[in-house]
Symmetry: C2
Subunit: 244 residues, 2 copies
């Protein structure tokens, strides 16, 4: 969440699909020269998932790493009795598969139809070994995700329902800007996920999300264009609310 894009200068070249990749400069590949990119791509594959389909489940062996090129994913975990917590959403350009364990701790599922670049973990690690600047980039990504996870810890541990929803909208808005979506001309933000997903991300129930959104609307902080589209009316007050 909220990870700022890390842009990197890269020598552009023609004749290779990765060079035209819309998210290349955001993604981990952005740091590679076109020569390196060619070698990198050689070990990768493209996978597609329809909305609702999983990329992997918690407990699955962590055999691959991925880079999301289009679509939105959720990272979730189930408790034995069915309670679900979403640890984060992934947007185009995001890297998927940071772990030191043999098994994935979270399930990754597509919220919208999605496309990913898939790399076998072993081969990816080997490539990283021979390209130290990739290692550094990976560290930077992990550090950003850690900061985002800790921010979510503060949200879940100490914020009220209203504060959580306000924070969520602002986080989503920050991601929208960095995720280079060329739609939404004048400041409308799209919620690609359902109320259930938002609830499981914020540690609340669906009904509470609905009520808090209605309350924000009633106090003229936001407007609900459609159920999935929101416009900020008073961003200042929204930020005040979000910080407690």
């Amino acid at each position: 969440m909220e990870m700022r894009p890390i842009r990197a200068a890269a020598v552009l070249d023609a004749g290779h699909p990765c060079l035209d990749c819309a998210v290349r400069l955001l993604a981990i590949c952005g740091i590679l020269s076109s020569e390196e990119l060619r070698m990198f791509k050689a070990s990768g594959a493209t996978v597609r998932r329809a909305a609702g389909e999983a990329i992997f489940f918690e407990g699955d062996p962590a055999a691959h790493v991925y880079n999301l090129t289009s679509g939105v994913l959720r990272l979730s975990k189930l408790l034995p009795d069915g309670r679900r917590q979403i640890a984060g959403f992934l947007f185009p350009g995001d890297f998927l598969g940071i772990t030191m364990e043999d098994e994935h701790a979270f399930t990754a599922e597509a919220i919208t139809p999605s496309t990913l670049c898939q790399f076998p973990r072993a081969r990816f690690d080997g490539f990283v070994d021979t390209h130290p600047h990739l290692e550094r980039r990976l560290y930077a990504i992990a550090a950003h995700e850690l900061a985002a996870a800790r921010q979510q810890v503060v949200l879940l541990g100490r914020k009220t329902a209203a504060e959580r929803v306000a924070s969520f909208l602002l986080i989503l808005d920050a991601r929208r800007i960095s995720s280079c979506s060329d739609e939404e001309p004048d400041g409308d933000i799209t919620l690609p996920m359902s109320r259930a997903d938002i609830a499981d991300y914020l540690g609340l129930r669906i009904e509470t999300i609905s009520r808090e959104l209605s309350a924000l609307k009633a106090s003229r902080l936001i407007r609900l264009t459609t159920t999935q589209t929101i416009r900020f009316v008073d961003r200042e007050r929204l930020m005040e609310l979000a910080e407690g």
Copy 2:
């Protein structure tokens, strides 16, 4: 939290204080040869803090990185109205200072009298640049902390008070084993932090911590030797409770 120690073979040598460091094999230095260690140490300093003193505050420029050699720290954040959330506890061997930002996002304070190795960030980064295996180690540390933070997200988002307290005791116990404390002969675990710290870590109130500990004691899952010392009576059931 809960980060497993990453042990690394290292050539031991005499005549350098770092080589005798009790936490060396746990810490980031464990990966260095004695030759590298000498260069590394040259840029570091030793700092001590009494219980309650801060190493840095949120918002301070992130000028240094640290390695904790003795004591226990807490990482916390305050909301404007005084609500506090603790994002994690640090034990001997832990690395402190993972961030890509210019400012610290959390306050670091000593819970017990503590000793740290301090390195200027710029010089540390330079040293890492010339030692790729250190970069890899840093990535591993960040990945472990990310896993721990996400586990805390699940705890805060979806677990009940009883489940949170049970989880906390098990996490603390896992850390005790890895943090090479030679005390506690027969399975007693020490709580170095106050009830207030536990509460702010688990997103609960002091009174709730107290009540849940009493309840665990009443159901014969634990025994409270002293306020700060706990013994597991039925670890199996405690683990079942912790997972929901």
